[in-house]
Amino acid sequence: MLVSIYRYNPETDLKPVMVDIEVDVPADRDLMVLDVLNLAKEKDTTIAYRRSCREGVCGSDGMNINGTNGLACITPLSSVVNPGKKLVLRPLPGLPVVRDLVVDMSIFYKQFEKVKPFLINEEPAPGIERLQSPEDRAKLDGLYECILCACCTTSCPSFWWNPDKFIGPAGLLQAYRFLADSRDTAASERLAGLEDPFSVFRCRGIMNCVAVCPKGLNPTRAIGHIRSMLIEQSV
């Protein structure tokens, strides 16, 4: 099958180009997109991309696959390409390209950092551990599973237009993960940092993030919860 891959080396190339590579894929079984990319790399060893765990846990191989962001390692070829059609691989949109499918994620991590993604609790630590009821623990389901692959944030137009000001779905999901944690005592400080017109409120609720999340998480719902908490705090 034909695989079209985005090739760009900012140090030597004036413009990015799409390069087609013919890859022999076995007809009797379905491959993951990452397998096809590995086969393409056997033909042209200069193709650059990130990958590590190859099972959707590390979040390294987020890329744009036939127009939709996803993890190459857990995206079956059959789910993105009709038989006889081309597989088109591009880097995640909205971030600077380092080389081919490798993007510079600095600004994504910077936004993640802004939400203070760690437990804040000024009370003295108890002897064993900070206990949590099963009900309180259940509130973190659908939040803690995020692997920071950036598929959601780089599919969000609000992030494309204001990557330095809008925190983006991944960061906001983590912001709510700590707002919802019964052991965290910094909710009001966290909310105060989110109240400006950009950090949360650039979200227009178009739900691209929900559509692409490889872990099936729902950042739009988390953003809605943050908005509700902001309202509750102000009245």
Partner: protein
């Protein structure tokens, strides 16, 4: 965090609530006008000015004009800060955005004053 920006209330939360409340007011007013046109007498100058002679209707209209101005300003500010930025327009973006927003602000103020004059002028 970003706070020193020329949005409506300097708070994302207040802007967001203002935009939603104003949207509800505009919907209610649109429905009111629509239903009045459907159920009222045949449209004539007399019928139209009779409808707007009630103080309640004139207050509602004034409220709708306020809502429209708030809604339009927040919306245009959001559009301008999404699309009239350095990543789209380069170094002149700030000047272009300010020009655009001053134009929007002028239109909003003119519309507001003109509306007040129509409903409450002699």
């Amino acid at each position: 965090m970003v706070t020193s920006v020329t949005n409506f209330s300097r708070s994302g939360l207040s802007d967001w609530i203002a935009q939603r409340v104003s949207a509800v007011v505009l919907l209610a007013y649109s429905l009111f006008i629509f239903i009045s046109l459907l159920t009222g007498p045949e449209l004539s100058y007399a019928a139209w000015s009779e409808l707007f002679s009630h103080t309640a209707v004139r207050l509602f209209s004034l409220l709708a004009i306020f809502a429209l101005c708030v809604h339009a300003w927040i919306g245009m500010w959001t559009i301008a800060t999404d699309y009239l930025t350095a990543s789209h327009l380069g170094a002149s973006a700030t000047a272009i955005r300010f020009g655009f927003l001053i134009g929007c602000a002028l239109l909003v103020v003119i519309y507001l004053l003109w509306g007040i004059q129509i409903f409450w002028g002699s």
